[in-house]
Structure formats: structure tokens, C-alpha cells
């Protein structure tokens, strides 16, 4: 394929993903908005008012970056895992496998769609947060780069999950038993400085901790983790999971017999 043809293929795939998100907007965009409104209301306004401050910041302000990042991560992951597994299950993944599209274009198209949904939901949650508190971005560049990197990392993770999945249960298990606990234990609702040393050290093994803290630095200007370390971890995960995803697609694991 020429450069222009490759770009057309990539755009087509990305556009198809966006059309899918728009077609089922009541499943893709509305639920996170409702869930996060409840989080802001209950944890931010009602309980947060009694908690007071966290790291010298009002509790509702402290949880805003974490809740946005949580929405971005779960929606990026959820989008690609359901879309790609759906394509496998419905066999329309074959439309792409028989085409001359290189593997990286297929991966980039799906990841592009998942990142777009993650960022769309993140933006919706940001607007909801503005109803509850004043949100100012301390460092917009860090805010944007960290949220995009996190969305990319979890899009790759979702793609790997979808590739290995053989039934719908397989795409529900990882989010329920791995993603959700990691998210809740990733410093969304608390600073790890509150944890005993043992659990603080355990928390360092959680990649979401680095994402939430980099993003929190971008929004509030505070972080439990040095920014350089947070970026190094995110980039390392992106390279590792992206490379593995590409290898899976190239060798046809779970797709070609």
C-alpha cells in the first residue's frame, strides 16, 4: 500500500470505531457520566466535606484527577476489548485480515478509537467536575500527555485481552478482577503517603499509581511520584504492551488457525 492508501485505511478503521461509539452512545458515553456524577456527589461533596484536606488540597479537588484518569483507563480498555472481541466473535475481523492493511494499521486504528473514547469520556467527566469544584490545570502539557499515554497503555492491554479471549466471560474477568482493584488501589482516592511502608511499597508495583499521579501533577501540581519516574513507567508499559500486541496480530494468535 502507498502512504496515502495506508492513511486511508487507518482513517477508515478509526472512523468505524468512532461511528460505533456514537451508535451505542447510551452504552459508551452516558454510564461513565452518571457513575462519576455519583462519585463527585458522594465522595467529593458528602464524605469529602468531612475528610477535609489531602496533601494540603481540598478532598474533592484531590480526587478530580484520579476520577478522570479512572474513567479514561476503564473506557479505553473497555472500548477496545469489546470492539475487537466483538469483531472476532462476529467474524468481521476477517474483513481486515483479508485486506492488505499491515498489522500496525489495524492495531493503530483500534487503539486510536479506544483513546478517542477514553478522552471523550475524560472530557465529559471534567465538565461534570466543574459543577462541583473549580478545576484549573497547573500544567496542561503534562495533563494531556499523561492522559493520552495512560489511554494508549490500557488500549494495548485491552487489545491483548480481546486477542486471547475465546468467550464473553474472558473479556469480563480481567476488568473485574484486575483492572478495577488496580484502579481503586492506584491512589485515586488517597495519597500513598497515608499508607504504612509495606503497603506503600506494594503500591509502587501498580502502574495506575504512576498514571494517576502524573495526571494529578498536571492538574493540581502535586504528585506522590517523581514526574520523570511516572513517565518512564508509562512509556515502558506502552512500548512493552504495544510490541506484544503487534506481535500477536502479526503472528495471528487467536485470529488465524
Amino acid at each position: 500500500m502507498t502512504g496515502h492508501e495506508t492513511w486511508t485505511a487507518l482513517y477508515t478503521l478509526w472512523r468505524r470505531e468512532i461511528m460505533r461509539i456514537a451508535r451505542i452512545w447510551s452504552q459508551t458515553l452516558v454510564p461513565p457520566a452518571i457513575t462519576m456524577t455519583l462519585y463527585f456527589l458522594i465522595f467529593g461533596k458528602l464524605i469529602g466535606a468531612r475528610i477535609g484536606q489531602m496533601d494540603g488540597i481540598a478532598y474533592i479537588d484531590f480526587i478530580v484527577p484520579g476520577l478522570i484518569m479512572m474513567s479514561v483507563i476503564t473506557n479505553s480498555y473497555g472500548n477496545i476489548v469489546s470492539s475487537f472481541f466483538g469483531a472476532k466473535f462476529g467474524k468481521h475481523v476477517e474483513e481486515m485480515l483479508v485486506s492488505p492493511m499491515p498489522s500496525w494499521v489495524i492495531l493503530a486504528g483500534y487503539v486510536g478509537g479506544a483513546v478517542t473514547r477514553g478522552l471523550a469520556v475524560g472530557t465529559i467527566v471534567l465538565f461534570i467536575a466543574m459543577f462541583f469544584t473549580e478545576v484549573r490545570l497547573a500544567n496542561p502539557l503534562v495533563t494531556l500527555s499523561s492522559v493520552v499515554l495512560a489511554a494508549i497503555v490500557f488500549s494495548f492491554a485491552g487489545f491483548i485481552n480481546a486477542t486471547f479471549a475465546r468467550k464473553f466471560d474472558d473479556v469480563a474477568i480481567i476488568p473485574a478482577f484486575v483492572l478495577t482493584p488496580l484502579t481503586y488501589l492506584g491512589g485515586v482516592f488517597y495519597s500513598i503517603s497515608l499508607l504504612p511502608e509495606l503497603w506503600r511499597n506494594v503500591s509502587y508495583a501498580n502502574p495506575i499509581l504512576y498514571m494517576v499521579n502524573a495526571f494529578r501533577y498536571g492538574v493540581l501540581g502535586v504528585s506522590d511520584i517523581p514526574l520523570a519516574v511516572a513517565y518512564a513507567v508509562m512509556i515502558a508499559f506502552a512500548v512493552l504492551l504495544g510490541g506484544f500486541s503487534l506481535w500477536l496480530l502479526h503472528t495471528g494468535r487467536g485470529l488465524r488457525s
Binding site: T2, T12, R23, L97, V98
Partner: protein, 318 residues
């Protein structure tokens, strides 16, 4: 017609992870511009072969070239030459037909504006234009089959592979589909067809290969293959079941019931001789038909299978 074959398969062997050997050193050439039938019984390896050509099944040993482009080493260029109509419905049934076609063209790098024009052309040609904005799952079985043919044409392929495209489709739609595919072939597209309607293969295809147990057991022009059929079987409807049957050298006559009999007639014997002998015995033939399609008779002899080839390869695929 060019000298480079549309499809060249050399010593292709495929063993699945579960140990099933689907292809055993299979070699095959299909000339550019041909209308080629690929037949075989259930589990013979047809779908595996098509899957490997179209990049849906990982290559085993051996080589496949499409218009001289190696599927192993020049995969992307080779795939851009192929349009595939698979056996099973495999489009997103929540999308509209026009979206399915335009997206498929996009995967081949066709700009959206041209893709929309082609979508209209093929949806109209296959009588689906009125359904362009319907949800695809609401289409009838025949419409879904035609939609897959339209989709396979969106990259305007030089090689169109049809894997049992008329399974479960009524006769009227089948005829319109074949009219469309004949026209595509007439304009230079090479067509490879697998079907279990052998009369279709006989009428449409110029050359034929029969696969059995992962090997080619017959590969010849349709005409010369049919010429090998030295005996044909007919069912004769007669108006008198009381008379004894005449003895005719080389011809086997067998009464089916009072109103009909079966005749196995070698090609060397003229049918008029059979009719004359029957007439001499007071038996009048009212009508006559072939007991089975000629290709079907040959097919059954070649693969040693009393039943015609079923629709799927499920028996041998993993």
C-alpha cells in the same frame, strides 16, 4: 490473458495445531481470466486452501503466488489482488450495507469518495440499493450473500474467490448472482468457485480441480473431464409397465416402477437404438431426464463417495 497465472500453489501442506493434516503437498495453477471450479467432499481441504490464499489461515509449508506475488513474502500486495466471498456471513450485522462496503474499500486504501461511487455501483448491480441504509441483520439470507459479493468487489479484485456463495439461496437469486459473476469474469476478473451445486460448476466453469484428503485428484478442463464420463444414466418415463424389458448389448435397463425405468447407456450406443428396442417391445417413452448431473456422476466416481459433497468443511477443520 497474461502468462502469469492468477494463482499458483506449490507443494502446500497444512497441519493444524490439533494434528489434523488438511493439505498434503497440494499444487495447483489457475490461469488469469479463468472461471475455475474447486470441488471436493466434506473436509477435503478446500476451505483451508482458500483460507491460506486469502490470509485467513497461517501458511504451512509450500508457496502461494497471486499474479506472481508471494502470499508469504509480499502479503499486502498479494491481498490487494483478491476479493473473497466466504462461506459464512462475516460482516458486522449492526452496520448498514453501504457502510460495510465503504469501510471494506477503505481497508484497501480506496478513498471514501470513490468508495461511495463503487458502493452504489455494486449495490445497484446486485439489487441491494434500496436496502443500503437498512441494518444488515434485517436482510434476508439471499441479500446477505449478495452483500458479501458486493463487498468482495469493492477493491475491484483481479481474482475473485467464491466459497460456496449460493448455499441456501433460492434459484432465482442464484441465477441473478451467477449472471453478475459471469459478467465480472467476462470483464477479465479470474473467478475461483467452490460449490456443492455441481450443475452450477458444470455450467459456469471452464476448468476444474477436485480435492480429496488434501490432494488434487483431478485437474483438467471441464470439457475433457466430462468426456471421461463413458456411461450416462437416464430415467425414462414410460406408458406401459406390463411388457418385459428388451436385452440391448451394453445397456443396462432396470425397472423402477410400473411407470419408469432406469437406463445406463454407454456413450458408444445411440439413444435412438435404445428407444427403437423399447418401441419394438411395445414400450413407449413419454419423457426422459438425466438420473444425475454429469459432473456429479464423475465427482462421485472420483472421490468414491455415494453422496454429493456437503456444504461445509467442518468435519476436518479444527
Amino acid at each position: 490473458m497474461t502468462s502469469t497465472p492468477a494463482l499458483s500453489v506449490r507443494n502446500l501442506t497444512k497441519t493444524y495445531d490439533n494434528g489434523v493434516v488438511a493439505l498434503r503437498g497440494l499444487s495447483l495453477d489457475v490461469a488469469a481470466g479463468d472461471f475455475f471450479a474447486l470441488l471436493g467432499p466434506n473436509g477435503a481441504g478446500k476451505s483451508t486452501l482458500i483460507g491460506m490464499i486469502a490470509s485467513l489461515v497461517n501458511l504451512g509449508e509450500g508457496e502461494i503466488e497471486v499474479f506472481g506475488l508471494s502470499v508469504r513474502h509480499q502479503r499486502n500486495q498479494a491481498m490487494s489482488q483478491i476479493g473473497l466471498v466466504p462461506q459464512e456471513i462475516n460482516f458486522n450485522q449492526f452496520e448498514k450495507p453501504v457502510e460495510i462496503l465503504v469501510n471494506q474499500a477503505g481497508f484497501y486504501g480506496v478513498p471514501r469518495k470513490i468508495a461511495l461511487q463503487r458502493a452504489e455501483k455494486y449495490l445497484r448491480a446486485l439489487s441491494l440499493w434500496d436496502k443500503r441504509d437498512a441494518t444488515s441483520r434485517t436482510l434476508s439470507g439471499g441479500m446477505k450473500r449478495r452483500l458479501m459479493i458486493a463487498r468482495a468487489m469493492m477493491n475491484e479484485p483481479r481474482l475473485l474467490i467464491l466459497d460456496e456463495p449460493t448455499a441456501g439461496v433460492d434459484i432465482e437469486i442464484r441465477r441473478s448472482m451467477w449472471q453478475f459473476v459471469r459478467e465480472i469474469n467476462r470483464t477479465g476478473t479470474t473467478v475461483i468457485l467452490t460449490t456443492h451445486y455441481l450443475e452450477e460448476a458444470e455450467q459456469l466453469c471452464r476448468n476444474i480441480a477436485i480435492i480429496d484428503h488434501g490432494r488434487i485428484i483431478e485437474h483438467s478442463p471441464m470439457r475433457s473431464l466430462l468426456a471421461k464420463l463413458d456411461v450416462e444414466s437416464f430415467v425414462l418415463d414410460i406408458d406401459d409397465g406390463e411388457h418385459s424389458l428388451p436385452a440391448i448389448d451394453g445397456v443396462r435397463l432396470q425397472r423402477l416402477d410400473n411407470g419408469s425405468l432406469e437406463a445406463e447407456v454407454p456413450k458408444a450406443i445411440a439413444l435412438s437404438e435404445v428407444f427403437a428396442a423399447l418401441h419394438h417391445h411395445g414400450i413407449r417413452v413419454k419423457s426422459m431426464r438425466n438420473k444425475a448431473n454429469r459432473l456429479e456422476e464423475l465427482f462421485m466416481r472420483l472421490v468414491g463417495n455415494p453422496a454429493p459433497p456437503p456444504a461445509t468443511d467442518a468435519g476436518r477443520s479444527p
